[in-house]
């Protein structure tokens, strides 16, 4: 019993963590078959489009793509994979049918920062609404059918309107997983609030004399490995009960109803 609970917990965490790996089809088998199939980006866009009508099966298929394409299904085992697909898929379907609210961007912030606090990660592992918005805009070109898709057709985007801060459950899980990836490997996202502000100023400053950059001025240069070490420490200091609860709490915090 304990084993199965652990497995379930572990599986949920994997999906949250590697959900976006469905993007990846790098192994030999996938490579061999890829020439005859859609690129994963296109496949996800197609499934997201199919799921828009609110059909439960289509919604689960969209979520299942997250699990399946990355080979995560092999890691999870059938039961765990299908339970996640069912939970998120059900929420996605209800959202599409107008029976449930969307997931606000703030839930991503809360979830990421909650994980960072729980695992005692460096300050640059935390995020904020600006960064979540930035990430969604970065994802938009490759995933136009998933990002910023409203329950009904989009109203004309006149000047002054904005990216909808409410996301579908599938988009929310996608964005969460992507943010985790960025926090782990992308210097652009491994910044504290003050560093983000400095970087913003620098990017928008066209004075002729720009300060010359070197490694000492680029604190993010070694943060990939620093994050790795911090996670090791954070994980080892997490109690058994906390670890078992974390996966469910993560989905709950994100606002994915059980």
């Amino acid at each position: 019993m304990k084993k199965s609970i652990l497995f379930l917990s572990l599986g949920l965490m994997i999906v949250l963590g590697v959900g976006l790996l469905w993007l990846s089809k790098g192994n030999t088998t996938q490579a061999e078959s890829a020439s005859n199939s859609l690129h994963p980006f296109d496949a996800i866009n197609q499934k997201a489009k199919n799921a828009r009508a609110g059909n439960r099966a289509d919604a689960e298929e969209l979520v299942g793509e997250v699990i399946h394409i990355s080979d995560t299904e092999n890691v999870l085992g059938g039961f765990t994979a299908s339970s996640i697909k069912e939970r998120v898929g059900r929420n996605e379907s209800r959202y599409r049918l107008g029976q449930a609210q969307g997931i606000p961007e703030g839930k991503i912030v809360r979830t990421i920062n909650g994980l960072a606090k729980k695992l005692n990660l460096p300050d640059y592992a935390r995020t904020n609404s600006y960064e979540v918005r930035k990430l969604r805009l970065s994802l938009l070109p490759n995933f136009p059918q998933l990002i910023n898709q409203k329950t009904q057709g989009s109203q004309p985007s006149t000047v002054g309107t904005k990216l909808d801060p409410q996301m579908s459950p599938a988009e929310a899980v996608f964005v969460l997983a992507m943010m985790i990836q960025q926090k782990m490997v992308n210097d652009e996202y491994q910044l504290t609030n003050s560093e983000r502000l400095s970087k913003w100023k620098e990017a928008h400053n066209h004075h002729p004399k720009k300060p010359k950059k070197d490694d000492s001025q680029n604190p993010a240069s070694n943060r990939n490995s620093e994050m790795r070490r911090a996670l090791e420490i954070g994980a080892n200091s997490t109690s058994i009960s906390d670890a078992l609860q974390l996966s469910n709490i993560t989905l709950n915090t994100l606002g994915i109803e059980q």
């Binding site: 917990s9 980006f41 904020n128 070109p141 004309p156 990939n224 996966s247």
Partner: protein, 265 residues
């Protein structure tokens, strides 16, 4: 103790999207430890996504006191791949690129790395852009081109002219305009051309040009998005007093995201 370690791994696995080695064997005394590689794709807009692909390596020089493997060439999954038995320490020529036509990598990248036992080598290739592309994609705010072509499939005129909305970095629409005309390649629609109006009031930044088809009911459907960089008109400095409590100070004269109390969570 083993159980604790195992459960801790569950926590670590939450972060394995980054290819984080989940308590992997970093025992550098193991002569067959070799080293790890992690492959990823970086897109023009800065986004990094873990991707598989073709990874190759060739031992170049160095002590190589442990391990016997001096080369590898394999298609790898996202995440960590261990090159067991690799000759280390030493200089390795590492390459990462597309495993097949249409892969996420645009091209191969090759570089020499000083590799040690158990080290993690991140290999990044430039991403093949899957969305739309804009030409020109970099615009002087005070000397803009008359038009910009946004290429990508999916635009149609069945219920109206495609509409293009320009989002700033905060996700706010700063301009919205119909396409001037559709672009065709070999008889098929390959994109849209939009007129560029006065940009003197547009600040430096990266903007998302989002192309929509108009639906039968008048609503818009996104068909693609391209990035456009505007320069030459730096915005006023951010309000130094606008932050605090974990809320990000934002520049003046641009709508701010709500100050999110979650930021202090």
């Amino acid at each position: 103790m083993k159980k604790i370690t195992g459960i801790s791994l569950a926590v670590l696995l939450a972060w394995s999207a980054a290819g984080f080695s989940c308590g992997g064997n970093n025992n550098t005394s193991n002569p067959n430890r070799g080293f790890d590689i992690q492959t990823q794709v970086q897109f023009p807009n800065g986004l990094v996504i873990l991707q598989g692909g073709n990874a190759q390596g060739q031992f170049q020089s160095g002590p190589g006191t442990s391990g016997t493997v001096t080369s590898f060439n394999r298609n790898v999954n996202p995440g960590i791949t261990t090159i067991s038995g690799a000759k280390v320490p030493g200089v390795w020529r590492l390459a990462f690129g597309p495993a097949f036509f249409g892969d996420s990598c645009l091209t191969f990248v090759v570089e020499n790395r000083n590799v040690s036992s158990g080290s993690l080598e991140r290999l990044t290739c430039p991403g093949r852009f899957f969305g739309f592309t804009a030409t020109a994609d970099t615009i002087d705010a005070f000397n803009p081109p008359a038009t910009v072509d946004i290429t990508g499939s999916g635009s149609e005129t069945l219920y109206g002219t495609p509409m293009i909305a320009f989002y700033n970095e905060f996700g706010n629409v700063v301009a919205s305009t119909p396409a001037n005309q559709l672009l065709y390649t070999d008889g098929a629609v390959s994109g849209v051309r939009v007129g560029v109006s006065d940009l003197s009031q547009v600040y430096d930044g990266i903007y998302s040009a989002v192309v929509h088809n108009v639906q039968a009911d008048g609503t818009w459907e996104i068909v693609g998005s391209a990035s456009v960089t505007v320069y030459g008109n730096p915005p006023p400095p951010p309000d130094p007093g606008g932050g605090g409590g974990g809320c990000e100070p934002q520049p003046q004269n641009q709508e701010q995201l709500p100050c999110d109390t979650y930021n202090t969570y």
